[in-house]
Point group: D2
Chain length 410, copies 4
């Protein structure tokens, strides 16, 4: 187990930290204000601030860091993890400025791994350049879609085309008209074996029958900075058969492959977000006095600060270990750890944000600090890629199996 | 200790329940939509739906129930508590429809108790009729205002007037232009004894120098339904000396008197809100299936439902006991219990809402259910009238004192 | 809902409090030392201290208070609850001194309610006088006996006798040879309907085939003060058919009837125990200084004290409400509340004891204070009459049913 | 950061695992029974089982693994950590069998680091051979001794001797008469600067004036397997001045140096203990059925298993990181992490044990499983080397300082 930071990562980290200090943090408020003033406030790609930062990130070599292999920066998960944490300190601006924001990252990985040459040329290349955006349409309003067998979206073969019908919601990024690419999960064969019913398919946003009706809020936030969370109806949407990603029935397996790296990126960025909250909590506690004592001298608040540090330290090393396992034994070998960090991260980060808010008083819940919107984000992580409860159930069953094997009782 | 529901309360409860079923619940969505369409979406008093409901509530005798004495419905706290819980099931609509919404309730109580005849005539009467609204300006952005000695707002005598300078924020209701009355807490004598420095004064909203600049969000919500939470600058605001409520230096004592009933109302309404969330959680759990089993047959979710019921049952009886104490030994005699429910309610209700959201999946965080906005409200309760930590500290010190007295070690 | 303390209860409470102050508290250490010195340290009935206290309690009319009806003191549950709390402050001594200690109380109730005249004469009368003790044999080592259908103990009819085979453990009181009466739960018909398989039968302790082999410890404690927790083998134990309590197949129903009052007594005594721990926590916090400040001036400890008070206040009123429901609508009508307090009490009390221990430093875990042994007792409450999880599951299913009925979806 | 297991550790681990399987686990019950039968049940060194195991451990090279440098096995903290976890699976037997049990380990480290040649020869050598045992006398009954300035024990110079007066308790190992060496912490100069008042001194157990009066219980356990926790009075105890360890006033600094490795060993062994509990929980859940389903198919129990795994994984990597820091930047550089694991370990391990107990039913609290005694041990860890609250306070203050430095506000 070796999570040392090598020289290349160290250099990138310095570069990124200077980019954050000089460009990202100072631009946050301007970016938010600019979005509100846009004709379509979800079209963050149209923001001048964003365009300026993206140019700067590219120039500094802070571009596509998330993507392993030749098409991306070629970093390992351990290498990228450290950088993702830094970028997570400015959740709304930095990842997008570096072309490292979800859901584009997952979609690029997916196309890089499973796309045909044609699909790569048409969709992956512009995304890597940053001239096109995308969304991933998985969650459905009518069913518990954490159980993939519940998915009701139909993808039916009709000649040399597929016809798609159904409804998806919480489709992050979809309110941005520049999200030209929709990757859609649905069932090609509802009667096949449990995990062979699903397929994934490319749907160009401008295909007739695609209707993005509204943005789903999360705890009052519409998340314009990343294109909102669309509610999309698909009515007799017809796309060429060649738009299928992988083969029929491979949708579930592809989705699983997509989730590993996505999760670890989410976790590392969330740790960065939590570190920023701890800084804010300390600095606020130092600057306020109540009942004759600075908040930073009051026992309960010291307890929160300590507990925050203890939680985040445990979490970070486990995320790094997970990254290292993914690098060395692959996503499958890191299955338990990937689930473990998916379970542990939202809990720890939400707790820390809650306390940071409390130290800030009512202001902590307002638009004047980024704590409340970060809390909302942390809260959504308890649903992202399936609710905690699904992951816990699965992890526990694997633990039981392992214990049976070890005790010879299997 | 007798919390029985008497006949009058029982009748009112039936009336209120029928009002809720026939008028309130069906109008919730319409009300929200209407607000968004208003020129000033914070001016909820202009809503047709609201006006219709207020007329109906008045007709049914469901008006000013919160106010004891001749000026109001004359109910005891125990009597009103049961009714407040019912109205809390529709937090955004029912209390306002019944002229029982904060902060007007607290302001009416305050004027009824401490106002001069002139003040009552000018301000209390129209508020009781429902033709005027108000706000209470206590919290300040620059200091930990839970410690009243920190308040920086100045109220300075100048001839037969007072001149007010300072800034207040999170002033609920203040974005509604019909909130003509602002009751402002500030310091008339910063050098007086700790709890004699503060005074309260009436400031008509249209006084020159009053500038309501924006609404403070709470977890992404702007709470238009109750007039938002204003950020207000007071610059050389001049009001007649007769606008003072009580005498100079009585502001803190008056604020304390105001808080008791306000807290118990908050708590009872929050219990109603939690009961609605439990219903929603049960109904959702019954309607969704994952991994071959209805959610309502899954152990973890059953655990949440049970835990929710256990928590709310404990909480309700303590709130009722507190109401009974207030009725029988007065607010001062109920001091510990008032603080106890102020501490216990947000914790229990927030927990229940969190679980209800989790059972609803991502949708639970969205605008399609009232759970997320209710969560935001429950979260603000941990700050309302001072953060939990202040109340706990105070309650603990009183407990220690009591224990010392009992053991003869005082 | 009326939990007022009436005059009779008030008088009894004063009497009991004076008994506690003058006789019980001063005798605790002496009692513990005397037990250790006995030939059989589990034979608490042989203790001189205990005999002295029992005589005094009888003289003061503090005897059999738990038992309603003519055979006992005839108190309601609300009346007894207040007294049980007071006696719970000296868990090891007061209840037994007042002939109000489990498991005798439950057994006396059971015999009073379901026993034949002959059974009452032979067993109930001496128990009411305090000259005989008893045990209730329900839990089995080999199965999850919270599910009554799992019970493996066999009670087989053979002519005019029943023959009993099986093993029971955690049989409180059984190490005391004066526990002449064992009430045993087993199956008379394993093929009957789920809740008709079980019967209860009287087994005199000296019947051949009864073997009490050892005492089960709980967290290191052997609980000599109440006769330990026996591990008992029953091998071809033959008793007259007339020893059956109620009819064949009524064992489950009788057990249910037995549990309601038992639970509420446990809860009230546990509250008394927790109150004593809060007093100890406060007094210790006042007497120790660390890092320049008294513990009672340190924020985290103040937080614990406040939280303890808030939890115990909620719990007590719910227990009182439950008692009131049992008095007015019967045990069945109070089913949800009885389960709710069974779930809530151990959690609250264990938490408080844990904090009280922490305030005492390592000494809090030792024999020098009663906190650690009280913690062990609170911990066992999470198993008593079935683990929390069983109660939560059952309560939640009833809640779902109720919600379905209310929403018309049943 | 590199926690890889090197070849030497891997070999030792295999050796240790085989020792555990073949010798340790099979001997646990026999050891416990043998202790009870000894004249002095605290004299575990007299146990035949122990002597057999110690010989075997020595033969296998599993001896003094804890001690770095020439005098011990020369392992790094990272290397030893993995082995300590394995030995922790049999807390009562393995560490002592390997001469790696507290408090001897800390005392040997202390003597190796700070002892004179004479002290080493007289005390360290026999301890390394395993022919002598020791105790460390720090905690006092009358004061909060986590604050070293509170220590009341006096060590006064008198000619060429020191005279010691005071009382210590919870002195682990002291009931074993073979604990010939007592290292005592007291004040040589109560008026010196805060952390220069204390000194440490060697007191041979048989010195006149040393009175070991009784063993302090922890949650009902007397911990005979490691010599109990003595209550020791020191009355005019006279020892040669050459018995001082280090110089006068260095006691606090020496104590600090002693704690780092001790803590990490405790943590790793506690993780081993928790892993054993998880195994037991899984195996029990697989073997019991309630209400028609195996416990291992019930949601709440699956949740506990998952949560246990997630907690232990986070904890282990942080402990390993801490070990690595101690190896690379020293105990001082690892200060925050050492405190973090001291805070995190008891919380996680206690939680896991509590759930493992719950899955076992009442039996889980009894002597039939090692869960209850392990719980008691985990509970004591919240006091060992100072209560959690002290560590949290200190960690938080350092965090605040660091944040101030980073933000340039120091």
């Amino acid at each position: 187990m070796d999570f040392s930071i090598d020289d290349r990562t160290l250099e990138l980290k310095k570069e990124l930290e200077s980019f954050m200090e000089e460009f990202v943090f100072p631009a946050e408020d301007e970016f938010a204000a600019e979005l509100e003033a846009l004709d379509n406030p979800y079209q963050w790609t149209a923001s001048k601030v964003m365009q300026r930062l993206r140019a700067e990130a590219k120039k500094r070599g802070l571009w596509n860091l998330f993507l392993p292999g030749e098409e991306g920066a070629g970093l390992t998960n351990v290498q990228y993890a450290t950088l993702a944490e830094v970028s997570g300190r400015s959740r709304t601006l930095a990842p997008a400025a570096m072309n490292c924001a979800a859901p584009d990252t997952g979609n690029m990985e997916l196309l890089a791994q499973f796309g045909t040459e044609e699909q790569k040329k048409r969709w992956l290349e512009p995304m890597l350049k940053g001239t096109m955006r995308s969304a991933f349409a998985m969650t459905e309003p009518a069913v518990a879609s954490s159980d993939a067998t519940n998915v009701e979206m139909r993808i039916e073969r009709d000649g040399d085309a597929y016809v798609i019908n159904g409804r998806k919601w919480f489709i992050t990024g979809a309110l941005n008209p520049d999200a030209e690419l929709l990757i859609v999960m649905g069932k090609t064969d509802p009667n096949a074996e449990r995990h062979k019913q699903q397929s994934q398919i490319i749907v160009p946003r401008d295909t007739p029958g695609v209707d993005v009706s509204r943005s789903m809020e999360v705890l009052g936030y519409s998340d314009k900075f990343n294109g909102g969370h669309g509610d999309i109806a698909f009515t007799d949407v017809r796309v060429p058969a060649s738009n299928l990603i992988g083969g029929e029935g491979e949708g579930f397996a592809i989705a699983q492959a997509r989730l590993g790296p996505g999760r670890i990126h989410h976790c590392m960025r969330a740790i960065g977000m939590a570190e920023r909250a701890i800084s804010a909590m300390c600095s606020r506690a130092d600057s306020r006095t109540a009942f004759g004592k600075k908040l930073s001298d009051q026992g309960v608040i010291l307890d929160w600060i300590a507990e925050s540090r203890v939680r985040i330290e445990q979490l970070r090393v486990l995320v790094l270990k997970t990254a290292w396992l993914m690098d060395t034994v692959g996503n499958k070998g890191a299955h338990t750890e990937i689930q473990a960090i998916k379970i542990a991260t939202p809990a720890a980060v939400e707790w820390i944000l809650d306390k940071a808010i409390q130290v800030h008083g009512a202001g902590g819940l307002s638009q004047d600090f980024d704590l409340a919107s970060s809390f909302a984000y942390a809260r959504t992580l308890r649903f992202a890629d399936g609710p905690d409860e699904v992951h816990k159930n699965s992890l526990a069953r694997r633990e039981l199996k392992r214990q049976r094997a070890e005790s010879g009782c299997d």
